[in-house]
Amino acid sequence: MTALTAKAGTVGVGPLPPRGRRRRRVKNVGARIFLVLLAVFLFAPLFVVVLFSFNQTASLSFPIPGLSLRWYDKVLDDPEVVAALGRSAIAAFVTGLVGGTLGILAALGLQGLPSRWRGIVQTIVLVPIATPALLLAIGLAIYFNRLGIKPPKLPMAIAGHILLALPFVLLTMTAALDRFRFSLLEAARDLGATRARAFWTITFPLVLPAVLGAILLAAAVSIDEFIIAFFTTGTDATLPLVIYARIRRVIDPGLNALATILLVATTLLAVLAARTTVSSTRR
């Protein structure tokens, strides 16, 4: 009797864990298929653009007859495109620098506010994220016009980009400063450091990764921005505007090359930004 139940027990219990494991594996496969589909959905258009940028012929038919760099050659020989690339690079650089600096100073200033005011100010600064870029663009155009300022067109676009990037910079920096142990500054002060010295030797090196991340993020926001640039730059077109203008005329395989350049630049900036901020959180 006892032997029997014991046997029954082993038989009943034995196969159970593998079955459970198998079921989990099946679930995993389902999740993986879903993930792959999602990736295809998200990245297939990008892949097509990149692929055709290396196309040998001008026809957009599949499969492509062969690989070449001719469209890159063609596009980079085009003075209009090169000028636009230069403007986009300048815009990204200035937006990163100015937006980054302003955002960092704002984040530091916010730390000094009493918590209730901090919340209010933070919400106000984040409003541009929720505002349609179109409104922002029209607003900026009218604003500059009414002020009677007739600046070169590019600085106007850059001003818009800074406005757009500021909330992102602020969010990144606020998160980094929230993790920063301000009591470390007391230790530095106690050891003889002035306020300024404590900031430069303790605060700054510890939040530097987040600072770099924020600057790269601001640059990434600028480089593929279209709407504000469209409303403000006029003849000083940035890269996204040139692509748009050409797509309206003819289907130009050179655009694929141009889009790929833009894609690589933004992805690179975004990845760099993510990496530096992540490394600053590991503390």
Partner: protein, 377 residues
């Protein structure tokens, strides 16, 4: 700085003069008057929120008093910023700089003082040897154990040769064994360097073990400043007595006074005796006061055992409970003055007693003391 040098007494490291500190409506430190001597290990002891840490932070320069004065070696430092005071602090959470090595942390203060190589390295390495973490100078501050962080924090402060070293519950994050070891070491380091240490803690044993003198604080007020022994054996009031150890308290009615000893007569010739110093205001027949005796001073014997000295207090009692904790057993005995705890060490003379046993409870004349009511200290 200011010309208050003349008022400083030789050998005085720190003076608090009528210092008050408010946080909003909370009166954190009240009329603090305190003198800490040059070269002593001084502890501020009290429950959390008693104002001990605030006092220390005012000394470091992180808080400004709302009124009063703080003198450091005779100079008024009340409103001097922390970086201009010749004091250094060991923080509760160490606050080592995570992006620097051990060497970088310890050298931080010296570099600000423009100490140059080779003196810089020499002093850093010497101090690391003093706190026994030599060989770790290349480690990152994040790669240290709790005990090592503690030692590095100590070295980082001491390497600057401060006039006073401030320590804010520096051992509270360590486990019990390591804490005890560090207590002994801290005391040895203080002795060796001769630096004045001001130590904040809520741990009575820790304060007693290390300190030359202790200030007991509660509700922002210093209740008593004395050696550990004085505080334990002659506490200024009931709070102090209770805070620094367990205590048996009882009502004492003065039935007679003779030869500097007051008696309370209980039935069958049993007496409780209390030393009545000359001019003690309570030592008049008919007065009732509160008296106390520490559990470890109370002796417990089987009933009828031979008596000790003539002046001992002897009371019959019945064992009501026993708590065995290894090296000692705490008995509770019901007596004519109430339930008394008696702590007996389980040494060669141990007597195992059971609940219900009839016993004689006794203590020497000087073991018991009068308990001044709080606020009268």
């Amino acid at each position: 700085m200011t010309g208050s040098l003349a008022t400083a007494r030789a050998g005085t490291a720190i003076q608090f003069r009528g210092v008050n500190k408010w946080f909003g409506r909370f009166h954190a430190v009240r009329d603090l008057d305190l003198e800490i001597r040059e070269g002593e290990f001084f502890s501020l002891l009290g429950p959390s929120g008693c104002g001990k840490t605030t006092s220390l932070r005012m000394l470091a320069g992180f808080e400004e008093p709302d009124s009063g004065q703080i003198l450091l070696r005779g100079e008024d430092v009340t409103y001097l910023p922390p970086n201009r005071r010749p004091v250094n602090m060991v923080f509760q959470n160490y606050e080592l700089f995570p992006h620097m090595t051990v060497f970088g942390n310890v050298a931080y203060g010296l570099k600000l003082k423009k100490v140059r190589e080779p003196e810089l390295s020499q002093r850093v390495l010497d101090m690391l040897r003093v706190v026994r973490v030599d060989g770790l100078e290349g480690r990152g501050a994040r790669q240290l154990s709790g005990g090592q962080q503690q030692r590095v924090a100590l070295a980082r402060a001491l390497v600057n040769r401060p006039a006073v070293l401030l320590l804010d519950e520096p051992l509270s994050a360590l486990d019990v064994k390591l804490r005890r070891q560090m207590q002994v070491e801290l005391k040895a380091i203080q002795h060796r360097l001769g630096t004045t240490f001001v130590y904040v803690t809520h741990d009575q044993e820790e304060a007693f073990l290390m300190s030359d003198r202790v200030a007991i604080m509660n509700h922002g007020v210093v209740l008593q400043v004395a050696t550990p022994r004085e505080i334990y054996e002659r506490p200024a009031d009931a709070f102090v007595a209770d805070f620094v150890g367990s205590l048996n308290t009882f009502e004492f009615r003065v039935d007679g006074v003779a030869h500097g000893v007051a008696d309370m007569r209980l039935g069958e010739g049993d007496r409780v005796r209390l030393r009545a110093d000359d001019g003690a205001s309570w030592a008049t027949v008919g007065t009732t006061i509160r008296a106390a005796v520490r559990p470890e001073r109370v002796r417990i014997d089987a009933a009828g055992a031979p008596s000790g000295s003539e002046t001992d207090t002897r009371l019959p009692g019945v064992i009501a409970g026993a708590d065995y904790v290894g090296p000692a057993t705490t008995y509770r005995a019901e007596t004519a003055v109430g339930l008394l705890s008696c702590q007996q060490s389980n040494d060669a003379s141990r007597r195992d007693l059971a609940v219900g046993d009839r016993v004689t409870v006794s203590w020497p004349l000087d073991a018991a003391f009068v308990l001044p009511s709080s606020g009268e200290a």
